[in-house]
């Protein structure tokens, strides 16, 4: 009887351990429980190698073990970009000490006007840690295209000369370098902070 109890109990205990392990592995990957944004799974983020507003060449590989938030915008942008960057700055601030694990980069879709200096001054208005990225227009076009970002210059009579229509989606890359989230323009500060908090924790 004792022998059978040990065999049955041991088997069930083993099943319990496997179940618990499965729970801790599987459940964290059921992202809708925690993420507000659209989830991607198992997709390596295309590399980005451009000139940083910090005066250095910047590659995604530089942010190893950090969560990277990628946004495509430009400094003359009248509305969508400042709203988005402000939200990202507030969301990052909500993370407290974990904020250091999040790097926000804005790839310019207006490389003609957005020099590293212009980008540095612009990014610092939102958060001194934000990085602007610029480079050869052909490189920008290739990177934007593979990140699903459209952009197109639009002539206006404003002092700015021209505007640039562009996709407003924010992409989030996790610590392992996988493109993890697509955040829509409608996302709130709280929702973005929640998602980032989960990824850095």
């Amino acid at each position: 009887m004792t022998k059978w109890l040990i065999i049955v109990g041991g088997s069930v205990l083993a099943a319990l351990l496997v179940g618990l392990a499965g729970w801790f592995v599987v459940v964290p990957r059921l992202q809708p429980q925690v993420f507000n944004a659209q989830v991607m799974q198992g997709v390596d983020a295309p590399d980005i190698e451009l000139q940083g507003s910090n005066g250095q060449p910047v590659s995604l590989a530089d942010f190893e073990d950090q969560v990277v938030v990628v946004y495509f915008g430009y400094t003359f942008c009248p509305d969508v970009c400042p709203i988005t960057l402000s939200k990202l700055a507030r969301a990052r601030a909500m993370l407290g000490d974990d904020a250091d694990d999040v790097q926000v980069v804005m790839v310019t879709v207006d490389p003609e006007r957005d020099t590293p200096e212009v980008l540095r001054e612009y990014a610092a208005r939102f958060d001194p840690t934000f990085l602007g990225l610029t480079g050869d227009p052909a490189d920008i076009d290739r990177i934007a295209t593979i990140y699903g970002v459209y952009y197109q210059t639009v002539d206006t009579e404003s002092k700015a000369g021209y505007l640039v229509d562009h996709t407003s989606t924010v992409m989030v890359i996790d610590r392992s370098g996988e493109l993890k989230l697509l955040v829509s323009f409608d996302a709130t500060d709280d929702e973005i902070a929640e998602d980032l908090s989960y990824l850095v924790s």
């Binding site: 351990l17 618990l20 059921l30 295209t145 593979i146 699903g148």
Partner: protein
């Protein structure tokens, strides 16, 4: 001695009480993985962003189809049988859309020129007329050759190479993209056999996910993605 036996029995009961839920979780997970009660299409990668021009000469961008399901194809005017095969597949899918329920989501068809340096609205219109593409649900598009190259090669990862005789060598491909701009299906190396049946089946699966993956059911659909429950 009696107390020891009693103690062992009590411990055994507690082990069973704790283990049963764990065993049920394991069985449930295994059953989900094996029987795949829900199927989904994989989220392969991001589809490209683009800014092109359609057969009417109007601007057409990836933002114009945000929220829609799009079946992309590639071709050029003098392409011959290989393009005819793809056109016939897309035409069949278009004509059989009544078989799938996509809810409120629209489906669009976009054929991107493999010869953008030579093809403007006139050439695109000629191709569109061949398949009765209406210019709204099905557009033929072209644009700056460098940008088109980025879109097709880097974005859709589809090989093509212009030849000296004016023809274009390419791998025939049809690519299904969802409303978030995420590639959900790739149908490559098609020659004669039609992929229309497969695409229709996949549209049905995608439609089911779009209709049902809300609220708590989202978790079940994410589990289906996790366990690679693909058709």
């Amino acid at each position: 001695m009696a107390e020891d036996a009693s103690g062992r029995t009590t411990r055994g009961r507690w082990i069973l009480r704790l283990a049963i839920p764990g065993a049920l979780v394991v069985i449930g997970v295994m059953a989900f993985a094996i029987f795949e009660p829900i199927q989904v299409l994989p989220r392969i990668r991001l589809g490209p962003g683009f800014s092109l021009t359609d057969q009417a000469g109007a601007p057409f961008t990836s933002e114009d189809v945000r929220g829609d399901i799009v079946l992309y194809s590639f071709g050029y005017d003098d392409c011959g049988d290989r393009c005819a095969g793809m056109e016939s597949t897309v035409t069949e899918v278009r004509d059989r859309l009544g078989e799938v329920d996509l809810g409120d989501v629209d489906i669009r068809f976009v054929t991107i020129s493999l010869d953008p340096a030579s093809e403007g609205p006139d050439e695109l219109t000629r191709q569109a007329l061949r398949v009765s593409a209406d210019g709204e649900q099905w557009r033929y598009v072209s644009g700056d050759p460098d940008h088109v190259e980025n879109v097709i090669r880097a974005g859709f990862r589809t090989w093509y190479e212009p030849r000296d005789d004016g023809s274009v060598a390419f791998d025939p491909a049809l690519i299904l993209v969802d409303g978030w701009g995420v590639i959900r299906g790739e149908y490559r190396y098609q020659t004669v056999a039609s992929d229309a049946d497969k695409i229709i089946r996949h549209l049905d699966v995608l439609g089911e996910e779009l209709r049902n993956a809300t609220g708590a059911a989202t978790v079940a659909y994410e589990a289906a993605h996790f366990f690679l429950c693909y058709p």
